[in-house]
């Protein structure tokens, strides 16, 4: 069984993650998901690919804490988070978050909260590779 929280180079399957989430409880009445993808255009420039650097051990422990916090805060039945590192090409998947709850509101709010918190708390950095050169991304508020 794949861990509920992972950092990995390879792509992931949204269907598989949702199936694993759904299998964790038959009380689940709502599942909300967020998929973050690599854009091929940013700040007026074409982006050919994005590379990610991470403080791997800390990022994984922060993601696990984020999942536990979300489960407790929103009363979720389960949640899953997968983030890719390494090189991701335009149009490919970066991050997947899924929240499962008895009802839709908790699932939707928890999903939004997790991606917002991930950007604040988890030590991962992205660099955009463009024909004009490479640039580390300055986070948007």
């Amino acid at each position: 069984m794949k861990d509920a929280v992972r950092i990995q180079q390879e792509d992931f399957s949204q269907d598989e993650e949702i199936r694993l989430l759904q299998a964790s409880s038959k009380r689940m009445g709502g599942i909300a998901t967020f998929l973050g993808c690599a854009r091929d255009f940013s700040e007026g420039r074409e982006v050919s690919e994005i590379t990610f650097d991470a403080y791997g051990s800390m990022a994984l422990s922060e993601l696990n804490r984020l999942r536990s916090d979300a489960i407790e805060k929103y009363g979720l039945l389960d949640a899953r988070i997968v983030h890719r590192i390494g090189t991701v090409k335009g149009g490919e998947n970066i991050v997947f978050i899924a929240a499962g709850a008895e009802h839709r509101v908790a699932a939707l709010e928890a999903c939004r909260w997790m991606i917002d918190e991930l950007k604040q708390r988890v030590p991962i950095w992205k660099k955009e590779i463009t024909p004009q050169g490479d640039a580390w991304v300055t986070p948007h508020p």
Binding site: D53, Y55, V122, W125
Partner: protein, 79 residues
């Protein structure tokens, strides 16, 4: 020794992913930061967060044990 880790934009400005700082009794996280910031001012311009042994640290007066692992990090941009 204290192991200092750098990632992403900070590592690029320092030109290295890690450095060692000699441990001395009473040394605090702020002391390590001050020492390295004097050597690598451009890198430390973008440092916003610090960690010790894999945990976020907000109180820079944290005393560091020998063999601690610390990190000075730029704002995160994952997701």
């Amino acid at each position: 020794m204290i192991k200092v880790l750098f990632f992403g934009p900070v590592a690029e400005r320092i030109g290295n992913n890690s450095l060692q700082v000699e441990h001395r009794p009473g040394i605090r996280l702020q002391d390590v930061r001050d020492e390295l910031a004097a050597q690598y001012p451009q890198a430390f311009e973008i440092v916003c967060f610090a960690a010790a042994n894999g945990e976020h640290v907000r109180d820079m007066s944290l005393p560091l044990a020998d063999s601690s692992e610390v990190a000075f990090m730029a704002r995160f941009s994952g997701g």
